[in-house]
Symmetry: C2
Subunit: 293 residues, 2 copies
């Protein structure tokens, strides 16, 4: 292909010097919300002790509002929106970007929010295996007339390394578990409070308890596609999500905004500690501050 237009990132091989812009990227962190991923890049900027205050980081994808992308040293921070289709478009174009930029030894981590199963709100779950709504570690991809089944196992060593890291951070309850990935937030996750609901509270709880018994500790909407695509493309990948509520106790997210903000910062703190450790850097002073989003 003479030219590759990464349409949804507003980047391309003819319009941008991708090796110069991205060749030294070693960590890619992705998450749903553009504001949160900007805040994460600003936080990493401080955590890595980079020059300047990091408040005015430019959105590398400023020409489009589909995704937002920021850089802090060797760390790329990108938003992916909500759901499998949205993250899948971003990943296809990101993986092509890393290829065109000739990046080597890249670790990719999804940091996000999720509903918990039988664990306290605020807990951080490191995914060992992403499972579908039947609790199976697989991702079904439609390719023309066929449905191709792909494995959703994540890098076990990376998950253990992250768990070890978490133990050195105060007030960061962290565990390894399966993550269930659904195509919908309401009916698909057994919520009773959507615009449509055709099942009882008993049926919902029976389903969620069976998920718990199968090893599921949290539920979100991107991990199976993320795990499958990264695995097939040879990227070491992890999923680290905080839980905003325990779904065995309710459906609505009612915690005060300040509490949710602190929860959402937890995966960021863990990943910052992990990246610093990998780079052999010490934490800067005051690193437990929660940045403004």
């Amino acid at each position: 292909m003479e030219e590759d237009v990464l349409y949804h990132l507003d980047l391309g091989t003819k319009t941008h010097n991708l090796p110069a812009m991205f060749g030294d990227v070693k960590f890619v962190c992705v998450g749903g919300s553009p504001n949160r991923m900007r805040a994460f890049a600003q936080f990493m900027h401080k955590e890595l002790g980079l020059a300047g205050d990091g408040e005015d980081l430019a959105d590398i994808c400023a020409g489009t509002d589909r995704y937002a992308m920021y850089r802090a040293g060797p760390v790329l921070s990108i938003s992916h929106g909500m759901g499998i289709p949205s993250i899948s478009i971003m990943l296809h174009e990101l993986i092509k970007l890393l290829h065109h930029a000739k990046c080597r030894d890249v670790t990719i981590i999804r940091i996000g929010t999720s509903g918990g199963l039988g664990i306290e709100a605020g807990s951080v779950v490191i995914t060992d295996m992403a499972v579908d709504s039947s609790f199976k570690p697989r991702f079904e991809q439609v390719v023309l007339d066929d449905v191709v089944v792909r494995s959703t196992e994540l890098d076990r060593d990376l998950a253990e390394e992250l768990l070890t890291c978490s133990k050195e951070i105060p007030d960061l309850p962290t565990l390894i578990g399966h993550t269930m990935c659904t195509y919908d937030f309401y009916e698909g996750q057994g919520r009773l409070d959507g615009a449509l609901c055709s099942f009882s509270s008993e049926k919902k709880l029976d389903y969620l308890k069976r998920a718990y018994d199968a090893g599921v500790r949290n539920i979100e909407m991107e991990s199976t596609a993320f795990a499958a695509l990264c695995r097939l493309c040879g990227l070491r990948a992890a999923v680290v999500c905080v839980v905003l509520l325990d779904r065995l106790e309710g459906d609505q997210i009612r915690a005060p905004r300040e509490v949710l903000r602190e929860f959402q910062h937890r995966p960021q703190r863990l990943i910052a500690a992990f990246i610093r450790k990998r780079l052999g850097l010490r934490p800067p002073a005051g690193n437990t501050l929660c940045p403004t989003e």
Copy 2:
């Protein structure tokens, strides 16, 4: 339910007076990009001859970056991100909002972009039926352990009314056809230019030609879930998408930005004319201008 928190819209029944804010809404227009939906609200503001220049419309969902929402008179303009999961979260919360606000006789229209099949770039397709990747008019929704199959037929009278409207607008090639909805932009739409590709150009073209023979004229990523959910909740719904390229001729979107911008404005012009007609309003002077996004 004592309180209903519409989490992803950052609205709720206790924190907001939804009937006062939304009770008189008659048209809801939804589309993927937040910037485009702001531009549409500004455009509608002018088209409806409302007071002020409409440049400083406030984002009603400013407390979250998941979706953006703007109002121009009886028209609500909301972004839904990319893909079925993302639009489905927004629709559940929007439909609850319309219910809480006691809205009556609401028409909902998705205006978007798509890949065309055998039609010229810039054509506008009004969907009569949203079909899945097997060309069937159905949406499969996982509900706990079951897969529920839902109809994806759209309002035929509304589609015809829109087509009639289009005939009165110069330079707006418009047709009615089936719209294929996929879970992925690359492999799921038979593109050869994703990070992964396991099929030949011949297999791709064979698939796309069969889609054409089944009546498919464009491909996007939200219409089946949109049609199914609106139909079940009794909302008259339409899907109106411009095509950015002919997929029988290529995969990459290469048209210059200015051309794409004018294409993306076409569904907006059609819907503005339709709403004006419904409200018995005449077009303002200079209504063919393409607003800045």
